[in-house]
Amino acid sequence: MKKLGLTIAVATILSTAVLNAQAAGTHAQGGTLTVPIITQTFIDDFNPYSGAQGDMVAGTMFEPLWAPNTMLGKTNWRLASNYSFANDLKSMTINLKPGLTWSDGETLDAEDVVFSLNLGKEDAKLDSTGQWSAGKFASVEALDATTVRINFTTADGTIDWHIPRLHVVPEHIWKDVEDISTFKNSNPVGSGPITEVRQVRDNQIEICRNPNYYKADQGLPYLNCIKFRQYTDNSQIQAALINDEIDWGSNFIADIDKTYVDPNPQNHGYWYPANDLINIYLNTREAPFSDINFRKAFSMSLDREIIVDLAAYGYPTAETHVTGIGEFFKTHFNDDENAKYDYLAEYNPQAAMALLDEAGYIDTDGDGFLENPDGSEINFDIHVVNGWTDWVQTVQMVSEYLAEIGIKANTKTVDWSVYDSALKEGTYQASINWSRTNGEDPIQAYRDYFHTTQQGLSWHTNHGISSPDVDALIDEYSATSDVDRRKDILSELMDFTGKNLAFVPLFSNPTWYQYNATRIGGWPSAENAFVQPVFYNGSNKLIVFEQLYAK
């Protein structure tokens, strides 16, 4: 019991931000939220691990221990009131709120959390945190009714990012289930704001208020029920949104201002905050990409604002930095590092041509396109997946911009399997791909970009640039709990990324989000940006749902 008393700096910072405090005022209870789900048919399956409807019940039926809010850089405490790492970073202790209950009235305590964590130990399919499979967890134990300790195999101060993905399920019911991966959980008992299944039809499911919700004394949730409606594609959801049949959309809508907002500007709205950064990865093992000057010229030749406007209706956020993390992680930006390299993200074809000229790229055969300094032809393919239309258009525009500075590049649409293996094995020349945002911290993006253990596994590592120093920095980040040291490491990684330019950032994908305030209020929006409005993420969905009320 010696080291547990010491709460480390990270946890202290996180715990200062209790998001509940931001609720401006309370609202009367009542009302039903209607949200679309893309599926073939609904079934009476409420197992959060199920592929069929797991996403639907995560968060709102099974509360997470805490919910990271990347938009504010804060933690929203849910079942847990706080957590702390041991000094040696070889274990963490999670403290639950006192007096928690399941929707059937049974007590929710540390044993339930231990049971839920241990599910992943025996069966990889139930390892929602991924930490048993990764070999990080050694054992899990309940210290008392509200305290859980997780022991690690090695020192690691980043395991807390994975815990919010855990589905905490009731041990008193699930312990008797023979095969949890095929368990339907038709009569669910949960801990979230809505747990009572009122109806299951092939095109509609209605789930209502948890009678024993731990926040009931604060009047939460304001809404009584969620109605999930079945749709099979975006175009139907678009029609249903326009017709006020549903309240919350998470889908692409063509020409949204005209088709959705204009018919009812008071209540129809959308907000597309930045999500993952989209890059063109360059294979630096071969010419011409082996030359840093060529890569710099590539980046400077692109007018990202125009690409975003023409290829993607202006919905994404054009990237203005080349240091590897986009708007999504803006709370982690180091402005000095960004400033050093920002000129590379500016549209400057003259500078690009001057740079190429200086580096010896000349049009020797007079065909209008430049040749390598050794006289060989420059002619490369940029891979994009067949049918991902917005990206295909993006790559076509990139090729046109490159042609303007005398570089011959071709848009190559390929099948997913070809694209996938070329990226992982490093057999592409250039290829457009996303970057990693499914984590709270940008270190995971950098691990994905550069750490040599990711080669062959990730789409983003096999561009030919790595360094033992960078590997060591990334490893050190996980093994330290010193916030300042972490900031320094991030700065060094940003510098390394900008200096080497193994990929050319284009824009941040939008988070697709539309809201209909005809019946429901409290929506996040550009003016009220309290969370990344993602429906298909239990934590974010829960934070949004808690603010919604019937008008």
């Binding site: 048919t41 069929a52 399919k125 029609a239 997913w416």
Partner: protein, 324 residues
């Protein structure tokens, strides 16, 4: 009844060929279902999940011929495995929900278009050169010649989205409890109007043409002249002498049409989010959901063969010469 026996052998062979093709075709397509699921997640899915999915969906075991025999066995025991899109829901359970809707649509629309088509075709041919004959076949041929997705989108946009006379999606109002209540049944009917309308618009032209042409051939026969000479009423000649004989080629055409109705259902159900087999097949193709795809194809093959078999029986009834 050697005619019926011979047909049975024919149908057995036909179904074996069809299910073998059904097995081979999806396996010739590039990529595998797990990779497709992964691709559609566009990077939101952690890498570790991939292997778990493969194991879960059984895509790692056995050479092709073992898979084939397992496939045959599963078909004859009606155990078609779990779907991929809605794992672990069994395919047969999913189909049981979907089939009645498509059956209703296809049945109603075929009934309506055949009835109206045959009546117009018969009438037009009997009064050749009249107003009906000059106007109707041409007009309906024009309407039916439009691609079905276009017709469906046009009808959807005008009658459902703009004028709001009919609902945008579903087989019935989701807020109503399914059952034999007046409210639910009228909701089902209300939701089925537009899909049926689109199917009728797509099919009716062919019926008018088939019937009119068959009738014109028959009307030139000597026995029609004979019937007229006997002084029979026009209506009796039209229905009992001409139409019954003209129906033979039309019956063949109807049975062949069942396959086309299913193809039309894919577009129409997709546009109206109608919970039938056509929409299911379309989505299963996109998700490379082999088990569901194979079950849908199998179902369509059985549909077409059963329709052909019914046509054979109808032949026996309509044409006494076949009975020996």
């Amino acid at each position: 009844m050697s005619f019926v026996a011979r047909r049975f052998v024919f149908y057995f062979v036909a179904i074996m060929v069809a299910i073998t093709f059904n097995f081979i075709m999806p396996r010739l397509m590039p990529g595998d279902p797990v990779a497709a699921i992964f691709a559609s997640a566009q990077g939101r899915m952690p890498l570790e999940t991939l292997q778990a999915y493969k194991e879960m969906l059984g895509f790692v075991d056995g050479p092709l011929w073992v898979q084939y025999f397992r496939y045959l066995k599963s078909i004859f025991t009606w155990d078609l495995g779990p779907t991929i899109m809605l794992y672990p829901l069994p395919v047969t359970e999913l189909l049981a929900v979907k089939v009645p809707w498509t059956f209703g649509l296809a049945g109603m629309s075929t009934l309506i278009s055949v009835t109206i088509g045959l009546l117009i075709g018969t009438y037009a041919s009997y009064h050749r050169g009249g107003l009906t004959d000059r106007f109707m076949p041409g007009f309906w041929a024009f309407v039916s010649a439009m691609p079905q997705p276009v017709t469906a989108l046009f009808v959807f946009f005008l009658l459902a989205l703009s004028w709001k006379w009919f609902p945008l999606s579903y087989g019935a109002n989701p807020d109503l409890e399914p059952g034999w209540t007046l409210g639910y049944i009228s909701s089902v009917l209300h939701h089925s109007v537009l899909p049926i309308l689109c199917m009728v618009l797509g099919g009716i032209g062919a019926w008018i043409f088939n019937m009119r042409n068959a009738m014109i051939n028959v009307l030139g026969e000597d026995y029609i002249t004979m019937a007229k000479a006997k002084g029979l009423s026009n209506r009796r000649i039209m229905t009992h002498y001409a139409a019954r004989n003209a129906l033979l080629p039309v019956v063949t055409a109807v049975s062949m049409q069942v396959g086309f109705v299913m193809a039309g259902a894919i577009f129409i159900e997709t546009v109206f989010n109608y919970p039938g087999v056509g929409l299911l097949l379309f989505k299963a193709l996109g998700a490379r959901d082999y088990p569901t795809m194979q079950a849908c194809f199998l179902l369509i093959v059985v549909f077409v063969l059963v329709a052909n078999f019914i046509a054979d029986l109808l032949y026996l009834w309509l044409d006494p010469r076949l009975r020996n």
